[in-house]
């Protein structure tokens, strides 16, 4: 092991966990053999030792969400490996239960059953899509399972044992919509995926536009299966907005950006979904994403020291990895956040760990130092506007530290009252 690597590891360990990690003499056995980069797929431990602390990592490596899930899985393994190499948690090596849910919600239910009941995981990271989260949340609630959901999402989950640590639609759109109104003007055209996340994101854009005195000139919701956008392009051309807000998701919808380029549609686009998850700026041929502005808390292009250390460690373990997305970063820091909460609580007992998390906790994440909001279980994030130019080079601007305010407005305070609800914007705004 090179000296450079060792020093970075130590920097990460001390930097991220904040409190002193007991570097007990016995370093954990190194298990580097499987970091072959094909997603670290070979690393599942079928059944894990009963006594050892175990975390469940249920992230998609096959199926139509594999593109986004693979990097989450890899980042979780990286965090666990680093922790184990530095003495584990409370001096114990952490084991991983990580079968592949294959982007199949039915399978998510099955594997969550097994993770909770058979493996008795001490904490669970699971689900990319909102649908997968909602599929397993009843199980989480039945068993009071400590659960981290790390995807950027529509927001509003107020749940005693769930920690949705990704940025919410309000945080992401709150970063980018006012920025673009300032920059380009007040006429907005919304296109979004026609399902829960897209529709709620559309509502958020409407709310933010109203707050800023802007105008929505058109709104279009696209089925997830659709990959033909010629009518959408013509509708946008007909309205000629100042900018487009796009909450399109998944592989099919990426076709929109290709058609946009072919039609020389140079209207700027704001988004909460593009680039930071499915790395469209690397997959699509430039200039498809010219003047794309995305509200993000993290992308691997972020040039801060903390970010670059993370990127180096990641690609050292997974040299063939395709991208480190926003969610991967969220998985990474939340594993460390869990570790710190466990060590503060002095036990793996989930109730105690949740109590510790709710006492207010800070982590030095690759995106910067951030803190957990005890009342809502969401994170205050460093939100930035990532901009892609005609060569798909990424620059960042307009950094803000945005609190998760929506659930406070909705009256969610999990430190006072235990809930298992999901609030929607219409519960608060007219």
């Amino acid at each position: 092991m090179s000296e450079r690597r060792f020093s970075r590891r130590r920097a990460l360990a001390t930097g991220l966990s904040g409190v002193g990690v007991a570097l007990a003499g016995c370093l954990a056995e190194e298990d580097d053999g499987n970091g072959s980069g094909n997603g670290g797929n070979g690393e599942t431990t079928g059944t894990t030792d009963d006594d050892a602390p175990t975390v469940g990592i249920l992230e998609n490596r096959t199926g139509n969400l594999a593109l986004e899930g693979t990097s989450k899985h890899q980042a979780s393994l990286l965090a666990i490996e680093e922790i184990n190499e530095n003495g584990g948690v409370l001096g114990e090596e952490v084991e991983v239960f990580d079968p592949d849910p294959r982007s199949d919600n039915q399978r998510y239910t099955e594997l969550t059953q097994e993770a909770i009941r058979d493996e008795e995981v001490d904490a669970l990271w699971a689900a990319y899509s909102s649908a997968a989260r909602e599929t397993i949340r009843p199980l989480i609630n039945q068993h009071d399972q400590l659960y981290f959901y790390t995807t950027q999402y529509e927001g509003g989950v107020c749940d005693k044992t769930t920690f949705p640590v990704g940025a919410t639609a309000r945080q992401q759109l709150g970063a980018v919509v006012p920025y673009l109104i300032e920059e380009y003007g007040e006429r907005i055209y919304i296109i979004a995926a026609d399902y829960n996340f897209g529709q709620l994101s559309g509502e958020w854009v409407n709310i933010l536009a109203e707050e800023e005195g802007a105008e929505i000139v058109g709104e279009e919701y696209i089925p997830l299966e659709s990959s033909s956008f010629s009518s959408t392009i013509n509708n946008i051309q007909g309205e000629d907005p100042d900018f487009i807000m796009s909450m399109l998701v998944g592989g099919n919808h990426a076709a929109f950006y290709q058609e946009r380029a072919a039609n020389d549609l140079d209207i700027p686009i704001g988004s909460s979904t593009t680039m930071a998850q499915g790395y469209e700026h690397l997959r699509l041929d430039p200039p498809a994403l010219t003047d794309m502005y995305v509200g993000v808390n993290y992308m691997q292009e972020l040039q801060t020291d903390a970010s670059q250390e993370f990127v180096d460690a990641f690609y050292e373990k997974f040299p063939d990895a395709e991208y480190i997305n926003q969610e991967a970063q969220n998985n990474y820091f939340s594993v460390y956040m869990w570790k710190e909460a466990v060590e503060r609580a002095g036990t793996f007992d989930q109730e105690a760990v949740i109590e510790e998390l709710e006492s207010g906790i800070e982590v030095d994440a690759p995106e910067g130092p951030i803190e957990l909001d005890p009342a809502t279980h969401h994170m205050t994030h460093h939100m930035r506007v990532a901009h892609a130019d005609e060569n798909h080079e990424i620059t960042f601007d307009g950094e803000q530290y945005i609190e998760p305010t929506f659930l406070h407005d909705a009256g969610c305070d999990l430190t006072v009252e235990s809930e298992q609800t999901q609030y929607e914007p219409s519960d608060v705004y007219e």
Binding site: S230, S231, A261, N263, D264, R283
Partner: protein
């Protein structure tokens, strides 16, 4: 609705039409000839698209001129070879077994999707849509999409020529009409089947090659072609050219029209599928069956 809007709507219809024709022909030719439904059709298209995209990037890196057309030819050829291999190893055991063929090809599609993922990862870099665009009023439409419409029509004309003007076409039609008689007249029907399957694969490969710049390339991208292709084939019936042409028109119209009228792609899709159901109900052997019986009644009245 002004003239520009009308033109825009017309282009949208042409888009749907070209998509349906190109997504369908490969499937239709195999269904019409051998009576099997290839549920891995989307993945055959994907093989063409992957081969095109990957060879385009290597050719472009080498600085070869006309990289895209060459890459498209490569895409078609690779898919034909792939089809040939699959015909010899698997498909020929399934001819005439419609339902078994659906399960077997479903399994093939599972395997292919995952093998592509293992080999090439979760995505490969895309090709940009080539060429500029035609502009009319506030609107534009890429030349490439018009080119796709031309390609769809060219494919149909080419097939018409193949089936009516060539020796192969005559034998092929004889085999479709009455396999036993054709065989007794000296037609090597097994060979006909193999050739037809390879042609069908080549057409799927062509579709993949043509749509490679329009789609984002991931192992799941083939599934987007399947349902539409499947429905169009059945609405069309067993006659490849007439069936595909009329069914694509019949289904493309409500799709473009309803989408435009309600400004909702969902309503467009649902309208198309509902029209398909009603069409099958009214024409239980597809459009082909209707055309056949119309021809027959005309012949009878002439007599």
């Amino acid at each position: 609705m002004g003239p520009y809007e009308l033109l825009s709507l017309f282009f949208q219809f042409l888009d749907s039409f070209a998509f349906l024709v190109l997504a369908t022909v490969g499937l239709a030719i195999i269904f019409g000839m051998m009576g099997v439904i290839n549920l891995a059709h989307g993945e055959f298209i994907l093989v063409g698209a992957y081969a095109t995209t990957l060879s385009f990037h290597s050719l472009a890196d080498l600085g070869v001129p006309l990289a895209l057309p060459i890459a498209m030819v490569v895409g078609v050829l690779v898919t034909m070879v792939f089809g040939l291999v699959l015909e010899v190893t698997v498909m020929r055991r399934l001819y005439g077994r419609l339902l078994d063929s659906m399960v077997a090809t479903w399994a093939i599609s599972l395997i292919m999707i995952q093998l592509l993922r293992i080999q090439f990862g979760n995505s490969i870099d895309n090709i940009a849509i080539p060429g500029g665009n035609v502009s009319f009023g506030p609107y534009t439409n890429p030349y490439y999409e018009l080119f796709l419409v031309g390609a769809a029509i060219a494919v149909l004309i080419g097939l018409y020529w193949l089936f009516t003007r060539t020796d192969f076409g005559m034998r092929a039609r004889a085999t479709i009409q009455d396999k036993e008689t054709a065989r007794s007249m000296g037609v090597d029907t097994d060979r006909m089947y193999m050739t037809t399957f390879v042609i069908g694969s080549g057409l799927a490969g062509l579709t993949g090659a043509l749509y490679a710049p329009m789609q984002s390339m991931s192992p799941e991208a083939g599934t987007g072609f399947l349902v539409e292709a499947f429905v169009t084939v059945v609405v069309g019936g067993t006659s490849v050219i007439v069936g595909t042409l009329l069914a694509s028109g019949l289904l493309g119209l409500p799709k473009a029209g309803f989408e435009y009228a309600f400004n909702s792609q969902l309503i467009g899709q649902v309208a198309m599928l509902v029209v398909a159901i009603v069409a099958i109900r009214l024409m239980p052997s597809g459009i082909t069956g209707l055309v056949e019986s119309w021809r027959q009644s005309r012949r009878e009245s002439n007599d």
